[in-house]
């Protein structure tokens, strides 16, 4: 007996841009091998979008594999349901094989390309950037003249770091992150050979992204984490993180608007738009990211790619740190620890922005692209097949 081997056909000859430069495609070939088993079995088709998408094909080019890997939300339901998982000799573990390929896509499509290699050492990169950011922020604050342990006045934050300096630091960092992620995902989309997606595909994909439908297990009960029991907690924790982050971001935007448009500079009272958005947002972000970290630690190791532990944990730790320091700031008004806490908060945010395109946060844009492709292709004809009982 032989386990079915990875097979290639003519479609693999015309490889699109980025994939052509990828070199060895062992990770993609392994996913191809497993997908052929899945396509012959299909028991998991109700769990998520990966299965209907794989069933629309008979063979899997590296571009197909990149697409399907990013469509996979790593919920893990299919591994527990798999009659071909180890110790079966077919050794199917789609969530893990997909995770390995996902990280390769973040690397391969990164812009600028040479920085893609940072993805694999993301944990270390984050630590280094954090140290540099902290030193930079501290230096800037110290250059402002005041001691870093002191009670600040009413204008608190801008006494530590002037508003213009903050904008000068964060606007380019954020702009770069958005640009790099945008160019990366554009390369991904081009390699998929997709035209512009129609509006209704956007609508469908956005709904699936915002509801994390594919962490619902197909029946809505959620997904496995520690064992084969379905739990809603991963989806809940991700929602808290995502929407908490969104509220924090909205709070920042509101603050900017108030500063420039209404000429109402910070600090803001408790009953102000930035605070009403930022406080619950920060709390959600803190709870969500810590919960995700805890769930990650307890997750069945078969679902994880050990190579990515640093990348996965770094993001959650950064977000928790940002939320914790952000929430501490209003509480520290009138306390001499405020300037240092503010510096730490700013350094963490800066680190997040700078490292964003080369780490776990990239999953957001690639997954959205995959969901968009799925929404666009779902009504295209696939092979019409018939099988036995």
């Amino acid at each position: 007996m032989t386990a079915p081997a990875a097979q290639h056909d003519g479609r693999h000859d015309a490889v699109p841009g980025v994939i052509a430069r990828l070199g060895a495609l062992a990770a993609e070939a392994e996913v191809d091998r497993q997908l052929r088993i899945c396509n012959a079995c299909r028991y998991c088709e109700g769990y998520c979008a990966v299965f209907p998408a794989l069933m629309q094909r008979l063979t899997y080019t590296p571009a197909d594999v990149h697409y399907l890997a990013n469509l996979c939300h790593n919920c893990g339901a299919c591994l527990h349901a798999c009659q071909y998982a180890s110790p079966h000799e077919f050794a199917v573990n789609l969530p893990q094989a997909m995770a390995v390929v996902r990280q390769r896509t973040y690397t391969a499509y990164a812009w600028p390309a040479p920085l893609g290699r940072l993805v694999r050492r993301h944990g270390m990169v984050v630590s280094l950037v954090l140290v540099v950011s902290m030193l930079l922020v501290l230096a800037l604050a110290a250059a402002g003249g005041g001691p870093l342990w002191r009670v600040t006045g009413a204008g608190a934050f801008y006494e530590v770091l002037p508003h213009g300096m903050l904008v000068g630091l964060f606007a380019p960092a954020f702009g770069f992150a958005v640009l790099a992620l945008g160019l990366g995902v554009r390369r991904f989309w081009r390699d998929q050979g997709e035209a512009t997606a129609p509006a209704r595909a956007w609508k469908r994909a956005t709904r699936r992204a915002l509801t994390l439908r594919h962490l619902g297990g197909g029946h809505g009960e959620g997904c496995p984490n520690d064992d084969d029991a379905y739990t809603p907690w991963r989806r809940v924790a991700h929602h808290l993180t995502f929407y908490g982050f969104a509220l924090c971001f909205a709070s920042t935007v509101a603050g900017t608007v108030m500063h420039y448009v209404v000429a109402l500079p910070a600090p803001y009272g408790l009953v102000s738009v930035p605070k009403l958005l930022g406080l619950p947002g920060g709390a959600m972000l803190l709870v969500g990211s810590l919960a995700q970290l805890a769930l990650y630690q307890r997750r069945d190791p078969r679902l994880k790619d050990p190579q990515q532990a640093g990348m996965d944990r770094a993001l959650m730790a950064l977000l928790a740190g940002i939320a914790a320091t952000g929430l501490a700031l209003p509480a520290l008004h009138g306390h001499p620890a405020l300037p240092l806490t503010l510096c730490a908060h700013l350094a963490l945010v800066l680190t997040l922005f700078v490292t964003m395109p080369y780490g776990k946060l990239a999953h957001g844009v690639y997954r959205m692209a995959a969901l968009l492709k799925r929404a666009a292709e779902r009504n295209r004809p696939g092979p019409a097949v018939d099988g036995g009982g």
Binding site: M1, T2, A3, P4, Q7, R36, I37, N39, A40, C41, R42, Y43, C44, E45, G46, Y47, P52, M55, L58, A77, C78, H80, A81, C82, Q83, Y84, S86, P87, H88, E89, F90, G218, H219, E221, D228, A229, P383, A384, V385, D386, G387, G388, G389
Partner: protein, 473 residues
Amino acid sequence: MAWDVLVIGGGNAALCAAITAREAGATVLLLEAAPRDWRGGNSMHTRNLRCMHDAPQDVLTGAYPEEEFWQDLRKVTAGRTDEQLARIAIRGSATVRGWMRHHGVHFQPSLSGTLHLGRTNAFFMGGGKALVNAYYRSAQRLGVAVRYDAPVQRLELHDGRFRAAWLDSGERIPACSAVVASGGFESDREWLRQAWGRNERGEWPADRFLIRGTRFNRGVLLKDLLAQGADRIGDETQAHMVAIDARAPLYDGGICTRVDAVSLGIMVNQDGQRFHDEGEDFWPKRYAVWGRLVAQQPGQTGYCLIDAQALGRFMPPVFEGVRADRIEDLAAALGLPVVATLSTVDAFNAACRPGHFDHAVLDDCATAGLAPPKSHWARPLVTPPFTGYALRPGVTFTYLGVRVDAQARVLFGGTPSPNLCAAGEVMAGNVLGQGYTAGVGMTIGTVFGRLAGAQAALAARTATATSSLATTP
């Protein structure tokens, strides 16, 4: 006495019995022969349950009344079925899904490639292993004790009354009553070999069989029960048998090793000769006959040959077929006699009458003057590339079993045991004397598993009451 009910086996029927007995208030120990990773027996390879219903129900379309279900069963078994027990299974299937859901089983509309089953079968989301996982979780939550790696070697019986089970390890486990749900004997190669014997060509056909199902069904308890006088049902050579890819693993090949291309092409044996009508009926009604047909061929191998017109029209098999641009080259690559194969294909091609090919209906593409004929979907094999698959018999489960009554009690010389029940494949032969129809194995396992669990709990209560009466001064 430690346990009220001992359940021997760890698949669907065993779990249904254990949960039902526990729900009835019994203390339950379940012994699974396999380690945790391989638990669930053949259930992990299943995906659907054949269900009677009089009107559309969530995932089930139309209606599938009792009488139609019964007629389907009668037809596939050619009458080798016990009508009373069959009707119990059929009626039970109508109401069991609520209970299954309650224990964590999720249903979904029929899987793609199986749309024709949407009326008769409810599909488990994630397949049988997901169902097994849900049942184990539910059983353990209810307080059913589960032991893995616990193969039972023999039962201690006294006049048909169960006393205790003896494990391979030598441990004795007594209980008030027991349910045997330990499957058939398909993975006892020696038993299969003897059952099929030697054919007129001097071959031992069973040596070439592959086992689609679990490697743990070695029929140990079946053999023990029959030796201890339990009534026997069924024929040792009868089994759910499908023709599967010859490259499939020896055990646990499951669903993905099947090749659903037979009705789209022709099937020849190793002499290059056709041997059965490939277009007799819809493939879902015929897939389960080809295992036996191939078993009767020399070398127990059949070769499914198709041309490019069939590609993309059948479920993609897990193993890539052998491909060539000429029939001669395909025959050579498959190790078939070139001249004989070519002349078989030529004769077939010449016999194909023009018609309108439609795989969704019993179309009018048939052969004329050919023996055996191909009654439907007969199109000349003329469009390269040609693809071939070598197929061997794949046994899912055997039908030889112990006879039971309407309460799933094992019969000894026609008398039901007071406290020993059987469920699942070890007694499926009562309903399935031969043949198969999709999803009926799970119907029998679920309905009789629940009956056996209820009966065993009742027997345990009776036994406890009797013994407490006996000890009352």
